[in-house]
Symmetry: C2
DNA sequence: CTGTTAGCGCATTCAT
DNA sequence: ATGAATGCGCTAACAG
C-alpha cells in the first residue's frame, strides 16, 4: 500500500494524500474524510523509512543502555518510553552489557538508523569513544545516570547521597562499614559512589579500607560472605546498587547473620522490588522513572526548538532515602567490644585504594 | 555522508560502493580496500532507511512485550537481542503495559517501520486484534509465552507445570492450597496456570476453591495478607508468577507467618533474582532466555528460506523446578488437625470459578 | 484548495 | 570488474 495507489483509488493527487496525513487542515474537510475512508479500507500506513528518507528526520530516539536485567534501567526505560510516546517519538533501545565496543557499535547503528537524537547511559563519559562518534555526527544527545562536566547529563548526586548514607549509619552507631560494588571500571556511578563512601567515612574520622569489588555475578554472594565471616567483620554494608544489596542480604543469611540485628545493609537505586523484600531494603532512592522522562523531555525540547543541549544545564535530580528494614543500630554499640581485627578477607578481592577527591 | 559523495571521493561509481558493502567479493580487492579506506575517513555509514526503502526489507524485527518491569520479559528480550544480533538483525521492542489497544498500535507502528517480522507476547491470542492486523499485512510472526493452536508459538506447558507443582505440594502433605494470580483476563498464561491448578487439585480429590486474583500491584500484598489471616488459611500458595510469589513472601511475613515453616510459597517463571532471595524462591522455571532466542531463530529461519511459520510446528519448551527454600512439608501434617474452616476471605476478592478443562 | 515534479540514499538491472 | 540509469514511498516546492 503506497501513497500512489491510495491517491489513485481516492482519485486525488499524492500531494493531497500526504497533506491529509501531515497537515489535515490544509485540505478541504470532505476530501479529507474521503481520503481517510479509502485509506482505512486499504489499510494504508505511511511508510516510515520513506518519510524519514525524505524529511531527514525520523521521529525516533535512540536509547543506549547497559542492560535491562537490572531493574534500574528497565524502570528508566519505562519513563523514557512514556515521555517519548507523549511527544510523538518512537524509541529504539539497544543494550551494551557494559561492553565499550558495543557502546560504540550501538551509536553507529543508531546513526545509520537516522535517529533524531539519543539518550545514553555509558560506562565512562570521560573516555567514551561512543560519545566521540556522536559529536562527530553532530547528533543531539543526553546522558542519563552519568555525570560529567563536558556533557549534558541527567543524574543524581551519587557522592552526596552516599556521604549522607554513611552519616546515617554512623549516627546509628556503626563504625566498621564496608563498601561493596560491582566492577568499578564499568561505571562512573560506581566510582562516584565509592568516592562518596570514602569521603563520608573520613568525615567521621573512620577508615574507608573495606571496599570490596565483586565483578562477577556468579561469585558475588560467596565473595561477600567471605567478608562477613571475617573476625572483625563490618557491622554495616553500603552497596553500590540494589542488586548487590540483595545479594548481600543473601550472603549475610548464609554467613549466619541476621539483618539488621547483626548487620545493616544499605542499597542504592530504589528499585521497586526492594520494597517487597523481607527485610525491606533500606536504600538510597533515585527517581529512575523521572530520570528517563526528563532525559527524553530535555532532548525532545532541544530537538523541537533547535537549541543546543548545554552541559551547564545538566540536571541533578534529588535523591531520597527509603527507610526499609535492613538497617538498624549497630550491635554492641555500647556493650563489650569485640576482639580486635586480626585478618581480613583475601587481599585479592579487597580493594583498599581510595581515589583522591 | 551519502553513497554518492563517497563514490565521488573514491573516484568510483555508486554501484561499486554499494557492492563493496553488500557483495564485497564482487569487486576487485584493491578497489575494495580503496573504497573502504575512504569510507573510513569520511565516516560513511549506509543509511538504513534508504536501504530498506529500496530493498523492501529492513533487517529489523519488531518485538511486542507487555512490560519490561517484570524481569521475565527483560530476560526474554535479552535472549531475543542476542539471537537477533547473531543473525544480523536489529530489534525494535515496544511495550504495551497489557493494554489491548496498545498491542494493536504497536503492531501498526511496526508495520509502518517496515519490520521484516515480529515476535510478540500478547494478552489473548484467540481474540487479539493485533494478530488480525498481522495476518492482514501478511507479516511473519511468532508468539512467545502465548499458546494457541492457530498461531506459531514458543512457550512451556503452563498447565502441566502447575499440575506437577500441585502434586509436589500434595506429596509434601499440603491439602489446603491456594492459587494467586494477577488479572486473569490480562494473560492467557495466567488462565492456563489456573487451569492447571484446578486440574491438579481435582486429581488429588481436593477442592480448588481458593483462587485469588490480585489485579492491582498497590494492594496485592494486603489482599494476599488478608487471605493468610483467614482462620483456615492455606498451607501453601501457588503463585501465577514470581513477582506475585515475592509479594506473597512479604504478605506471609506481615501476617506473622514463617516461610516455609508455617506456609509454603511457590512461584512461576524462574527469574534470576528468585535465587538470591531469602528464602530462595521455590519455583517453576521457564527457559526465558531460550524462549526469546528460539522465537527469534525460528522467525529468522522462516525469513531466510521464505518458508511459512506453521502453527503445528509450535515449540513447547521444557519447564523445570527450582528447589528453593520457600516450600516444605505442611505444618501439622500428621499431628492434630486445625479447627474446621469457617470463613474465607471477602468474597469480593475471591474467585472460586474454575473454568472447564 | 489541489496537482505536478523532483529528489532524499540506496540497490539493482542492464550495459560495457 | 565496473558504470549509468531507474525507482522504492514519500514530502516539499512550486504552479495553477
Amino acid at each position: 500500500m503506497s501513497i500512489k495507489q491510495l491517491a489513485a483509488r481516492a482519485d486525488v493527487s499524492m500531494a493531497t494524500v500526504s497533506r491529509v496525513f501531515n497537515f489535515p487542515d490544509k485540505v478541504r474537510a470532505d476530501t479529507r474524510q474521503h481520503v481517510l475512508r479509502i485509506a482505512q479500507e486499504l489499510g494504508y500506513l505511511p511508510n516510515a523509512s520513506a518519510r524519514s528518507l525524505r524529511t531527514q528526520r525520523s521521529k525516533v530516539l535512540g536509547i543506549v543502555l547497559p542492560t535491562l536485567l537490572n531493574p534500574v534501567f528497565a524502570e528508566c526505560l519505562d519513563g523514557m518510553a512514556q515521555a517519548a510516546r507523549a511527544a510523538g517519538y518512537a524509541i529504539l533501545p539497544i543494550t551494551t552489557d557494559y561492553e565499550l565496543e558495543r557502546e560504540e557499535q550501538a551509536v553507529l547503528q543508531l546513526i545509520a538508523a537516522d535517529v533524531d537524537g539519543m539518550v545514553l547511559v555509558v560506562s565512562q563519559p570521560a573516555t567514551s569513544r561512543a560519545l566521540d562518534r556522536l559529536r562527530a555526527a553532530a547528533l543531539p544527545y543526553v546522558l542519563a545516570y552519568n555525570r560529567h562536566a563536558a556533557h549534558p547529563c541527567v543524574s543524581v548526586d551519587n557522592e552526596a547521597a552516599v556521604i549522607e548514607m554513611v552519616a546515617r549509619l554512623v549516627a546509628m552507631g556503626h563504625r566498621r562499614i564496608a563498601f561493596i560494588s560491582g566492577q568499578l571500571a564499568a561505571s562512573d556511578r560506581a566510582m562516584q559512589r565509592q568516592r562518596g563512601f570514602c569521603e563520608g567515612m573520613h568525615a567521621h574520622g573512620l577508615h574507608a579500607d573495606d571496599c570490596l569489588e565483586v565483578p562477577f555475578i556468579e561469585t558475588a554472594i560467596q565473595d561477600i560472605r567471605a567478608l562477613l565471616e571475617t573476625p572483625a567483620r563490618p557491622t554495616a554494608l553500603v552497596c553500590s546498587n540494589d542488586l548487590i544489596a540483595i545479594r548481600s542480604l543473601r550472603a549475610a543469611h548464609l554467613a549466619g547473620l541476621t539483618v539488621p540485628d547483626d548487620i545493616s545493609i544499605a542499597g542504592f537505586d530504589g528499585i521497586a522490588l526492594g520494597n517487597d523484600l523481607t527485610p525491606a531494603l533500606s536504600t538510597i532512592t533515585q527517581p529512575n522513572h523521572t530520570i528517563g522522562r526528563d532525559s527524553v523531555q530535555w532532548l525532545v525540547g532541544a530537538l523541537t526548538d533547535g537549541q543546543a543541549l548545554a552541559p551547564q544545564a545538566s540536571r541533578l535530580l534529588p535523591h531520597g532515602f527509603r527507610t526499609g528494614e535492613s538497617c538498624a543500630r549497630a550491635p554492641d554499640a555500647s556493650s563489650s567490644p569485640r576482639r580486635k581485627r586480626v585478618a581480613s578477607v583475601p587481599s585479592s578481592t579487597l580493594d583498599s585504594s581510595c581515589p583522591p577527591f
